[in-house]
């Protein structure tokens, strides 16, 4: 699969329903403390024609925030070595498809963490303060796929919202 390639799935739709969808769009930021916040601000603005409800926008925001936090924290761990993060978002009949590309360090073992739920039935001082990120991504997003392509990380996922929404 190519990073830049479009996934199929639009071919069976009529022109009318395609027109009602939000056109695919891109957002680009540079890694750093405020990268995720900045990208989410731009994404949510571009998604505003879909008039997502609070439940849907919260789900989308969480998934994207956790994915971007991961890129900033582990992909570009050295604050002196920032790099680009590019996000494509495509509105399809089965939800919002998000494609995140960065040129940071690869995922360990070439795959995403399992994202198991953190254990909360533990002693007070052993309460987890981290390890929630991938759990939230895998719980809230569908079709999470990671691929290292040359010097790029490509993370694809789908958030199953706005399926019947039309752009206003």
């Amino acid at each position: 699969m190519n990073c830049a390639s479009e996934q199929n799935g639009l071919s069976s739709q009529s022109d009318a329903s395609q027109n009602a969808r939000l056109p695919s769009f891109n957002v680009a930021v540079t890694s750093g403390t405020f990268a995720a916040r900045e990208a989410i601000g731009m994404l949510m603005e571009k998604l505003s024609p879909l008039q997502l409800d609070i439940e849907e926008s919260g789900t989308f925001e969480l998934v994207v925030a956790e994915a971007l936090n991961n890129v900033v924290e582990h992909g570009y761990p050295d604050p002196a070595n920032c790099g680009p993060i590019k996000i494509n978002c495509t509105h399809k009949s089965n939800g919002l498809h998000v494609h995140i590309v960065d040129q940071g360090l690869p995922m360990p073992d070439g795959k995403t963490p399992l994202g198991l739920a953190a254990e909360v039935d533990v002693d007070f001082m052993d309460m987890p303060e981290g390890g929630f990120g991938w759990f939230l991504i895998k719980d809230l997003a569908k079709d999470v796929q990671y691929e290292r392509q040359g010097d790029k990380n490509c993370l694809r996922l789908r958030v199953a919202i706005a399926m019947n929404a039309t752009a206003h």
């Binding site: 995720a36 919260g58 956790e66 929630f132 719980d139």
Partner: protein
């Protein structure tokens, strides 16, 4: 990330003056909570009613704040907006904290 606090009915109420507790401010939040919650009443109520979004870093910072406050004192969370509530439910942290939908509700319930 600003926090303001007051003491009311023998509770320490710490209010977050910001709409996001995310990776960008998680450490700042943790330090500010530490400063606000040291000493004082046994029950600390964190008023999250202005917070619209929290990510896993923010959640971790709240857990760290709870640990800092210690097992002999209580950290209750009040005023959870929909997305904040979702994060607590999904991670099962709703079973660890006392959660209240409003600050008034928390004050009523926690009053001995």
């Amino acid at each position: 990330m600003e926090l303001s606090s007051r003491t009311e009915n023998s509770f320490k109420i710490v209010s977050v003056q910001g709409s996001r507790i995310d990776a960008a401010v998680a450490i700042e939040f943790k330090d500010a909570m530490r400063a606000q919650s040291d000493g004082g009443p046994d029950t600390v109520i964190l008023d999250l009613s202005e917070v619209e979004f929290i990510d896993s870093s923010g959640l971790g910072a709240i857990v760290a704040a709870m640990k800092h406050i210690g097992p002999d004192r209580t950290l209750a969370l009040a005023g959870l907006t929909p997305t904040v509530d979702k994060v607590f439910r999904l991670t099962r942290m709703d079973s660890v904290f006392s959660l209240f939908s409003t600050l008034e509700g928390a004050l009523d319930e926690l009053r001995v």
